[in-house]
């Protein structure tokens, strides 16, 4: 074939797919693989000018053809106009989809030239998915590259200083655009073995026996390990160590790991896994949180005092009875939210490299100067992984290996999306165990199927919520009862559902609040962190009730929110008095003004469609809070010339998953040192070189790591001013102290606020729902980089549209129905509405330059804004997500006022008792 303009002759097996030949045989790793099932489109390359999915395109079909990949686009350092535009518009976040996007777009531009329209882009990119950007920046970039006059349009913010408030591409974006950025699977250590995991496949069973001899005997198999081969601690877990590294006595969900295999090839490893026989005594299954709470429910974990109750989380403020007695109107409803999946487009991959690994033994090269990668010395066991919490990967792996944490090194590679789904251990420990055992590098790459099966999901919840208010709209009391499906292992359930609990009265000043939340163990996939961290769920219930209340009181939906909105001087449901940085009212004003524009109508008809607006507001804590020590260490090394700083390197072990952290940290250092942002190099996530930046969760990185870098850089600048041309400063930043839940004190260092309005179109013939427009305003304290914030907001909104309309990780009695990507649709470009985004900046005095977190906030209120609009258009209140057009149409036809069945639900929402008494 002709590849990127040059003829290539290859001698490869006829059974290979084009993606394999490109990536493995030719080392062209710019083409990525996300699913291997023709769904995601990120593997797109051009064959004779047309985009094809290389993962299902047989290499031999391309014989004699002209194949073009991302590597062909930039030559000698100059970028193709598309690449340049993607860079300028911030259309690259994690970057895993970027080459597929650009190649698809290239074919389109080659075909249409300047006659290209946004509709053409929508058609062409329909099956090329991006989980990060929400597609807006992608459309803008393609329009610009095709010759239209589309300048980047980051939202308006306060005037920028030298480095803060500057809209800039993320420093690592360029490599992603060129296809040279390396994600874990792009590393190719000489001598690598390939690993696979034997999964339980049954949700709940006692293990009678595990038979591995046939697998071990298969030629090419180098190691087969079971629970007996775990030398150290046999369980891991971020909060409670209840998750077996390898199951020995019992399995608790379908994705449990029972044995692991390393072999010469992935096919051999897969064949070996099929040869492992596990004999089970199957046990009765706990299928959901409500069933788990019944006294006769089977036990997921034996020997606990509370049965399947993982944690009862409470909020108690004021006098709830008195609050309702005072109310003129009370609204009560039970809602249900579904389990959802992160669908980061890069499946999990870990590579374990054994201590003392010598690449020359396997035909590689050793480079004494290299510190990481294929040519480097590895003096201790090292794990290459795209991880949200490198230091916890290290401690958990060390524990399993039975060694001290500093005997393990974790090198965080680029991450193709995380969204909370790459916080828990997946293959890290397994790869390390197999590397130790075999003395070879071991790559454990999950298939999409395995990724779907294994990693924690968003908690499915049932939420009963009662809201009381006076005639004038002032809230008097909110009582909420939540059941959350924690799945088989604790993961971050306590924290996530804690957030659902504390935010269950909404961003309002409510004098009397009572919330009871029950985190329940079940035999479903574990639940953990997913953007929004529990607040997405409770916000749906809170904001739905607020609209119902407004209707009963004949108040405007915007007005009722304004009346109750938190503000400086008001208190949250946990008793925290807000002293500063509450921009909620300004957010509401901005959104209302924009929505109301000219000829405003809440709802109208056009042909067979009905249109309506819906609004919702939200808030989200910044930082861990609740009394947890929230710290980050950062190193800043700076060089000066004649007393003036010239360049700097920032080192911190925080994770970049595409959200733009390196850009934020570089800006902080540049501002303090008085140097251009480009003169700051940011090194993230190598535990041997970078201080611990803590977990990338709870929208905390800008705040905590940003402060650490800012203060380190400040000291560096001071020292440089006094003497020398080179300094190294390490600063350990600790966020202001917070108080635990229940104490009534300051639970969090800051909160971010937002308001969103969604314009929704409902096809009255089919019940189909389309979001046409979203107007949003987010109070982020200070926008350090407006371009990346815009990306976070657009991406977050579109992700929440998925939560409202398309996504449901379906499990039937502990067995996932959602077992391939084709069964889980994330929003595509065709689901993307027009988005107008405003930035509000109410400074947080303790944040870096006033900034607070924004990563999660945008993906919280969009869903209730949509369902509130649906109610306004149809009179039907959707109580269970995601919206099912079949049920919605039925409700409209039958004139019923609620929909209790979401797509994928088998039963109506179960009744629960307020306060959870049974």
């Amino acid at each position: 074939m002709t590849l990127n303009g040059k003829p290539v002759e290859l001698d490869v097996p006829e059974s290979r797919y084009l993606s394999e030949v490109l990536r493995n045989d030719l080392g062209l790793t710019g083409t990525k693989v996300g699913c291997n099932e023709a769904e995601c489109g990120i593997c797109t390359v051009l064959v004779d000018g047309t985009p094809v999915s290389s993962c299902v395109y047989p290499a031999f079909k391309a014989r004699g053809a002209n194949v073009e990949t991302i590597e062909n686009l930039s030559n000698n350092g100059s970028l193709h106009p598309l690449q340049q535009a993607f860079l300028e518009h911030g259309a690259v976040q994690c970057g895993i989809c970027t080459s597929g996007m650009i190649m698809t777009a290239k074919a389109l531009i080659d075909d249409k030239g300047t006659s290209l329209t946004e509709d053409d882009i929508s058609v062409a990119l329909k099956d090329t998915y991006c989980r990060c950007t929400g597609y807006h920046s992608v459309v803008r970039a393609i329009m610009q590259a095709s010759g239209h006059d589309v300048a980047p349009s980051p939202p308006q913010t306060r005037p920028a200083s030298a480095a803060i408030g500057q809209a800039r591409p993320n420093p690592n974006a360029r490599a992603k655009i060129e296809g040279s950025a390396r994600f874990t699977d792009d590393y190719d250590f000489p001598g690598t073995l390939y690993a696979r995991t034997k999964r339980s496949g049954v949700p709940h069973a006692r293990i009678r026996s595990i038979e591995t001899s046939a697998a071990s005997a298969l030629p090419g198999v180098r190691a087969v390990l079971t629970h007996e081969d775990v030398p150290g601690h046999k369980r891991h877990g971020l909060v409670i160590d209840d998750w077996p590294v390898l199951c020995g006595d019992k399995v608790r969900y379908s994705g449990d790991a029972v044995a692991i295999v390393a072999a010469d090839s992935d096919d051999i490893a897969a064949a070996a896994v099929d040869l492992i026989e596990v004999d089970y005594d199957e046990l009765a299954v706990v299928g959901d949180a409500i069933q788990a709470a019944r006294s006769d429910a089977p036990l997921v974990h034996e020997g606990r005092d509370d049965g399947n109750l993982l944690k009862h989380i409470k909020v108690d403020k004021g006098d709830i009875e008195a609050g309702f007695a005072e109310a003129d109107v009370i609204v009560e409803q039970t809602y249900r939210t579904q389990a959802t999946e992160h669908m980061f487009l890069e499946p999990e991959c870990s590579i374990g490299v054994p201590a003392g690994y010598d690449p020359t033994e396997f035909g590689g090269v050793l480079d004494a100067a290299a510190v990481r990668g294929e040519t480097a010395q590895h003096d201790k066991i090292t794990i290459y992984v795209g991880s949200q919490i490198p230091y916890q990967d290290r401690s958990q792996t060390a524990a399993a290996l039975g060694v001290e944490p500093d005997e393990v090194r974790v090198v965080a590679t680029l991450m193709g999306g995380g969204f909370g789904g790459k916080e828990d251990i997946t293959g890290q420990i397994h790869a390390a165990l197999l590397a130790e055992k075999t003395g070879r590098p071991v790559k454990m790459l999950y298939s999409r199927r395995e990724s779907l099966l294994v990693h924690p999901k968003r908690h499915a919840t049932v939420i009963r919520i009662r809201t009381g208010a006076k005639k004038d709209g002032r809230l008097t009391a909110v009582q909420a009862t939540l059941y959350g499906d924690a799945g088989a292992y604790a993961s971050l359930s306590e924290k996530v559902l804690g957030r659902a609990t504390t935010h269950a009265a909404g961003p309002y000043d409510v004098p009397n609040v009572k919330v009871d939340c029950f985190a329940m163990y079940t035999n479903n996939a574990p639940s953990g962190a997913l953007r929004g961290f529990g607040v997405t769920q409770s916000c749906f219930a809170v904001e739905s009730n607020m609209d119902t209340l407004a209707e009963k009181l004949e108040l405007d939906a915007v007005e009722i929110r304004r009346i109750n909105a938190l503000d400086v001087g008001k208190t949250t449901s946990t008793g925290q008095v807000m002293r500063e940085s509450v921009g909620l009212n300004e957010c509401i004003d901005k959104v209302a003004a924009d929505m109301r524009g000219n000829d405003f109508r809440w709802t109208w008809e056009e042909g067979s469609s009905r249109f309506a607006w819906g609004v919702a507001v939200a808030y989200k804590n910044t930082g861990l809070g609740g009394g947890a020590v929230d710290k980050a260490g950062a190193e800043v090394e700076a060089w000066a010339d004649a007393g003036k700083a010239t360049r700097a390197e920032v080192r911190i072990s925080s994770a970049e998953m595409g959200q733009g952290l390196p850009g934020v940290l570089a800006a902080c250092a540049a501002e303090e040192l008085g140097i251009p942002i480009e003169s700051v190099n940011v090194l993230l996530g190598d535990t041997d070189f970078c201080p611990d930046g803590g977990p990338t969760t709870a929208s905390r990185q800008t705040f905590v790591s940003g402060n650490a870098v800012r203060l380190a850089a400040q000291q560096a600048a001071e020292k440089l001013a006094i003497d020398g041309d080179h300094v190294l400063v390490r600063y350990d930043y600790e966020a202001p102290e917070t108080q635990p839940l229940g104490s009534g004190g300051d639970m969090h260092v800051a909160f971010s606020f937002c308001a969103q309005a969604a314009l929704v179109e409902i096809d009255m013939n089919t019940g189909e729902v389309h979001v046409r427009k979203v107007v949003a305003a987010h109070d982020v304290g200070r926008a350090i980089n407006p371009l990346t914030i815009q990306g976070q907001i657009e991406g977050g909104i579109v992700m929440c549209i998925g939560f409202a309309l398309t996504e449901h990780y379906i499990q039937e009695d502990g067995k996932p129905w959602t077992n391939v990507m084709a069964r889980y649709k994330i929003p595509s470009i065709t689901h993307t509405p027009a988005i107008t985004s405003h930035i509000v900046e109410h400074s947080a005095s303790t944040g870096p330059y006033g900034a607070k977190g924004v990563g999660e906030l945008p993906s919280i209120p969009t869903a209730p804004a949509i369902t509130n609009a649906i109610y306004r258009a149809t009179g039907v209140r959707v109580c269970s997500l995601p919206v099912d057009q079949d049920e919605l149409l039925r409700a409209m036809r039958e004139g019923s006022s609620t929909v209790e069945l979401a797509w994928g639900d088998r039963e109506p929402i179960p009744a629960i008792v307020p306060g959870g008494k049974r």
């Binding site: 097996p13 059974s15 047309t50 031999f60 496949g201 079949d886």
Partner: protein
């Protein structure tokens, strides 16, 4: 659960003639399989849903079968022709609109750029979109085997869901054809989807109508899926239409008759029976009206 083993073939052939392709199939005697774009077969193979074969015989490179041609009576589509090519073809846009529409909704561009209409037909799903479109047009297919080459009506190839009378280990669907719509004729296709779950239509409907100057329907074809194990030709509804006026009342009646004669089913996570019925009630008249508009447009 088994880890999806990567079911592999040993040889991948791209024969240049039908004879060569048949010869390879004969040699492998059931251990080789015909493949078109592979967008169904290879995805399913990767998932471990097919018995492994030793060889794949790719029929998209056969000379003369990778083009759309027309003769006196028919528009003829070779088995190597992709959906993208069909959608862009000016003749099909003019004389077989419902095929263009139905191939145009399949997958995304990456799938349409390699997936073929022949593969869609041979895959024999109850609601393969291209198949529904071609069925409405009254399509025929040509099958080559050791016994020779023969044309047959499209609907005679369906055996059951995913099952075809074409033996995909020994026979090749070489060409597909239909009679172009003439003056007074129009066709249309529509499908209803949901944004979640599998990318399979809730209902896919195609129609072809012929009307005379007095607005009387002189010929009608209605195809639907999924309404049973195989793509369905709604003959009772067609009979209601022929000889009657091309009015909305008639179309509403045709929808009712179509529904009386089929047993729509509730399918898990896709649609309830009631919903499907409602969609037929709503959309069959809509696309019949559209076909009338097109018939009139073409006539004027």
């Amino acid at each position: 659960m088994t880890t999806a083993s990567t079911n592999r073939w040993e040889h991948y052939y791209t024969p240049a003639t039908v004879a060569e392709a048949l010869e390879i199939l004969r040699r492998y005697d059931g251990r080789a399989r015909v493949v078109g774009g592979g967008t169904d077969l290879l995805v399913e193979t990767r998932r471990g849903l097919h018995r492994p074969v030793e060889a794949m015989v790719d029929v998209t490179h056969i000379e003369g079968l990778d083009v759309i041609t027309s003769d006196e009576d028919n528009i003829v589509i070779g088995c190597g022709v992709t959906h993208s090519r069909i959608v862009r073809d000016a003749r099909i846009l003019k004389y077989g609109m419902c095929l263009s529409e139905s191939c145009g909704v399949i997958g995304g561009p990456q799938v349409r750029n390699v997936g073929t209409l022949a593969g869609n037909v041979a895959h024999a799903l109850p609601a393969g979109d291209g198949t529904i479109g071609l069925l409405a047009l009254g399509g025929e297919i040509e099958v080559a085997s050791d016994d020779g080459i023969r044309w047959m009506p499209l609907q005679d190839s369906f055996k059951g869901p995913g099952k075809s009378f074409i033996d995909r280990y020994r026979q090749i669907l070489t060409r597909l054809r239909f009679r172009p719509t003439a003056a007074g004729e129009g066709s249309a296709h529509h499908r209803v989807m949901r944004p979640q779950g599998l990318c399979l239509p809730i209902i896919s409907v195609g129609v072809r109508l012929q009307i005379d100057d007095a607005n009387t329907i002189t010929d009608a074809r209605i195809s639907m899926g999924p309404v049973g194990p195989v793509p369905y030709l709604a003959e009772p509804a067609m009979e209601v239409l022929v000889g009657g006026p091309a009015t909305n009342e008639q179309f509403v009646r045709a929808a009712e008759v179509a529904l009386e004669n089929v047993e729509l089913r509730t399918s898990k996570y896709r649609a309830s029976r009631e919903y499907r019925e409602q969609m037929v009630r709503t959309y069959l008249p809509v696309i019949l009206n559209r076909a009338v508009e097109r018939a009139n447009g073409a006539a004027s």
